[in-house]
Amino acid sequence: MNTAQYKTWDEFTEGIWRQNPVFVMVLGMCPVLAVSVSAVNALSMGLATMFVLVCSCGLVSLLRRMVPKEVRIAVYIVIIATFVTAVDYAIQAISLALYDALGAFIQLIVVNCIILGRAEAHASKNPPLPAMLNAAGMGIGFAVGLFALGAVREILGAGTLFGITLFGASFQPWVIMVLPPGGFFVLGAWLLFFAWLERRKLRRAAPTTEAGQHV
């Protein structure tokens, strides 16, 4: 148990970089591709998912000792669905335009495998604080991934970022970027970029490991 204490920070950063749900685990692709049309949409979706992730993991972790194995999935789903409903109302209250833009994908957070995966694999076995930290890391990682897609698609597809015009009025929008194929192209490009980073790291690390340094 005492190892968990200094592992906490590690658990937090894990989801942001090493186990990034979008770029490393390639999980939850449905909302990633569908709502990353603009940076605002992507970021709101990321934040909504993160909120659900943190709250449901916290509650699951609190209840972890009294949930019987046989009904655990049912319990997790009920908890997740609860927070999704709350987020649904909250987004409607904040902005109807945003709610229309995100569409069914808010409700579909329920079936986002990242959340159930975190609840089952981590929150059900750890005390609330590390569980929520880990969930927050994952949520930030997911939001960052969504934002990376949304920003590129908005810049190329509309010439704006967060609605601010970047290239002046005569910018030619790349229509394909706001259409579904654009989501796949940009995701593919990002995956390619991270694969290239990874390979470069390995290539650079190879001679230093021979020299006895720790990776």
Partner: protein, 382 residues
């Protein structure tokens, strides 16, 4: 022991002097008159467009060959073909920066991603065109009429748009040349949206002035005939494409002449001839079996006419070829020739299928030694 002098080798058993490079070089030669005619039609804008698109293709190819992510060499001319064909399918006044995007996407997405020459599933030039069509739908639908006065000294205004910026509107420029905005519509768009039909004989030569058309279909057919006669291209595919398109269009025309245009208009308008002769016949993306070529070509012709008639788009050759590209492995599979020794009507017995990818070869022991003595007396020289 005396083992039988049988050599087990995979095809090809007969070699000829024809290499990939020879074929590609000849295709480029045959494309040159078409490009020259295109430049003659549209002047320096067309020349700049061809140069920039081909240049973008070559640079992208070079990059991917250099980084080792793609097979093939730069000198095999395949990227030149992609670039020239792509430039010919784009409007003459297409902004140069968009042309460069199309060229980069064509090679990167259409070819390098699959592993280079011979591995691509789709025709790279059409991938590039499909991308820019989806990305810049307005620019790609903006044509300018051919044979404008002063086309060799003056660029079409949209050609020189700044990178990432909207090209200049050609309407005012056309007005200054005493042409109405409709002159910039392709014959297919005119027919689809305005119900104006252009005569087929005008389309065949492309020589009558101020029409928004590509290079003359007659010239393309001649260049294609050269390739086919030298066996650098299979004549079955273009014939199947054109035949099936003509048949479909003729049936519909016979059914309701008021609603559907005559088959000759269908054949000679848009990019059907160019697509049939140069794009559908791309060796890597079309079936290799003779029967498969007929099926593949017929599918393209049918889809082209169906898309032109029943979709929101005026032109359908590009998507027809891309869909047929995707179907060609399947077509190849179902049109496998019957193995020697079995009649055409003689149904294969249930368990005695002839495997497409003969598993028995790979199941042989790895240690099996290939006999040194060769069975074929006229063995090919290395």
């Amino acid at each position: 022991m005396t083992s039988a002098p049988i050599e087990i080798r995979s095809a090809p058993h007969v070699q000829s002097a024809k290499t990939v490079e020879t074929i590609m070089r000849n295709v480029v030669y045959s494309l040159l008159p078409i490009c020259a005619f295109y430049v003659f039609q549209y002047g320096i804008s067309a020349l700049a467009s061809i140069a920039v698109v081909t240049g973008a293709c070559l640079l992208t190819e070079r990059f991917f060959v250099r980084t080792g992510t793609q097979a093939g060499r730069l000198s095999d001319y395949s990227a030149v073909i992609t670039g020239l064909l792509l430039a010919l399918t784009l409007p003459p006044g297409f902004p140069l920066w968009m042309g460069a995007v199309a060229g980069i996407v064509a090679i990167a997405l259409g070819k390098a991603l699959f592993g280079g020459i011979g591995f691509n599933v789709f025709n790279p030039a059409l991938i590039g065109r499909a991308f820019v069509q989806a990305a810049f739908p307005t620019a790609i639908a903006t044509y300018t009429p051919s044979f404008l006065p002063g086309r060799f000294t003056e660029f079409i205004p949209s050609t020189l748009a700044w990178p990432l910026m909207i090209p200049a509107d050609a309407t005012a420029w056309l007005k200054a040349k005493n042409l109405d905005a409709l002159a910039g519509a392709t014959p297919l768009a005119k027919w689809k949206f305005d119900g104006v039909l252009v005569n087929a004989d005008e389309l065949l030569t492309s020589l009558s002035g101020n029409m928004a058309v590509g290079p003359s279909p007659l010239l393309i057919l001649l260049c294609g005939a050269y390739l086919a006669s030298r066996r650098y291209m299979d004549w079955r595919i273009p014939l199947a494409v054109l035949g099936s398109a003509a048949l479909t269009a003729w049936l519909l025309f016979a059914f309701d002449p008021a609603r559907y245009p005559n088959p000759f208009f269908m054949l000679f308008s848009g990019g059907l001839i160019l697509g049939a002769v140069y794009m559908a016949t791309d060796m890597a993306t079309s079936p290799v079996t003779p029967k498969g070529m007929w099926v593949y070509g017929a599918l393209i012709g049918l889809l082209t006419v169906v898309i032109r008639y029943y979709s929101g788009l005026p032109e359908g050759v590009m998507y027809a070829i891309l869909i047929a590209n995707a179907a060609s492995p399947l077509i190849e599979k179902i049109t496998q020739p019957v193995p020697f020794g079995r009649g055409v009507l003689d149904r294969v017995k249930k368990r005695a299928t002839y495997p497409l990818n003969p598993g028995y070869i790979s199941r042989e022991e790895a240690s099996a030694v290939t006999p040194k003595k060769r069975f074929l007396p006229n063995k090919p020289k290395k």
